[in-house]
Assembly symmetry: C2
Homo-oligomer: 215 residues x 2
């Protein structure tokens, strides 16, 4: 237990930011593994997910200990319950990065993503990185402007996702069913990753303003 | 606020059970909507998801109020934090039922599921119902035997899911890419629904025994 209760709350928040950064690295590495059919990178992401899961447990346990020992009320209580929810989103985002790495691994030495779909996933990877980076900023600084930007960035991911379906459904999709399935699931993983980043931002907005975002 | 704090905890648990039952109805209706291409049933599920979301907010708020006013420690504190997590799983399961209903609605008046894939989704729907029914029992009675059974039932869902992929990837898949995409996503929704049911059961096991299940 740290000397000061306030320091413990700050420290938990720092851990959330560090976890968000780890998740961002995992996602960025997973995208590279996918686009380069790099099985060593894919394995790094898959092995690294255990650490992200362990971080989740550690943060949850610390939140629980603060609840039990300090019995925070009002604002501080909301800080802790928000942290417990954010940590779930972040862990799930780590799982999604792992799912992407697993698709890369499953198709190795082939590339799961055909050349003509590559630009869409390159961009999805970049949007995902942007989203998790901003989510980390939102957590670190309770930055409501960044939280608002995240909503717009998520629209970009949705647009990419729709474009992917158009490509899959074009008359001349030449890559067969197996690749179509991979692309469908990969698209879903990136989209869900983005949804969770938005969820993190909304939780912080609710913490700061008391207002829930309504889409 | 109820007279007795203990009654309030019991009442929150009853609400969780009722929510699990609502989610079960939604999933059951969504499966029927999907298999019968019944757009009226699909709309029921889609409209009903708002109520499930509202229940989530209401239960979360009640948990928060108990934390703030009663400052529970030890076992009671764990009951509340577990309820807050279970409610997230249940809400997400409601979303997945809604996703299934939306696929049925999107393909109406066509049937999203071709005749030869129908048995797999009929069974997936039955397994999903079984899982959420047992999850409700686990919440209601802290029934650890039912929790263990859930793990096995989830294996059945995984097996169904693998069978679906085999069917999609057979040489003679005659239904084209669009249907393959629908089936891929539908399979994923049922699988995730099952995962969340397992997660609910594991949270209750952890609450009762203090031991985390390791897959």
């Amino acid at each position: 237990m740290r000397d000061s209760y306030r320091e413990e709350l700050d420290d938990i928040n720092d851990c959330l930011v560090a976890m968000a950064n780890s998740v961002g690295s995992a996602m960025s590495t997973a995208t590279t593994a996918l686009l380069d059919a790099d099985v060593a990178l894919a394995d790094l992401v898959i092995a690294g997910d255990e650490e992200i899961d362990a971080t989740r447990e550690s943060i949850e346990q610390r939140c629980f200990t603060v609840l039990a020992r300090q019995q925070p009320v009002a604002g501080d209580l909301r800080v802790i319950t928000t942290a417990m929810r954010i940590v779930s989103d972040l862990e799930r985002m780590g799982d999604l990065a792992e799912h992407i790495a697993k698709v890369a691994r499953m198709r190795f030495p082939d590339n799961a993503v055909p050349q003509d779909v590559r630009p869409a996933f390159l961009e999805a990877g970049q949007v995902a990185e942007l989203l998790i980076t901003k989510a980390a900023t939102v957590i670190a600084k309770r930055d409501l402007d960044a939280a608002r930007e995240l909503e717009t960035d998520d629209d970009a991911m949705d647009k990419l996702h729709r474009g992917l379906f158009r490509q899959l459904l074009s008359e001349d999709w030449p890559h067969g069913i197996e690749t179509a399935i991979d692309i469908t699931l990969l698209g879903r993983y990136y989209e869900r990753f983005a949804d969770h980043a938005v969820s993190v931002a909304r939780r912080v907005v609710y913490l700061v303003t008391g207002e829930r975002y309504r889409a």
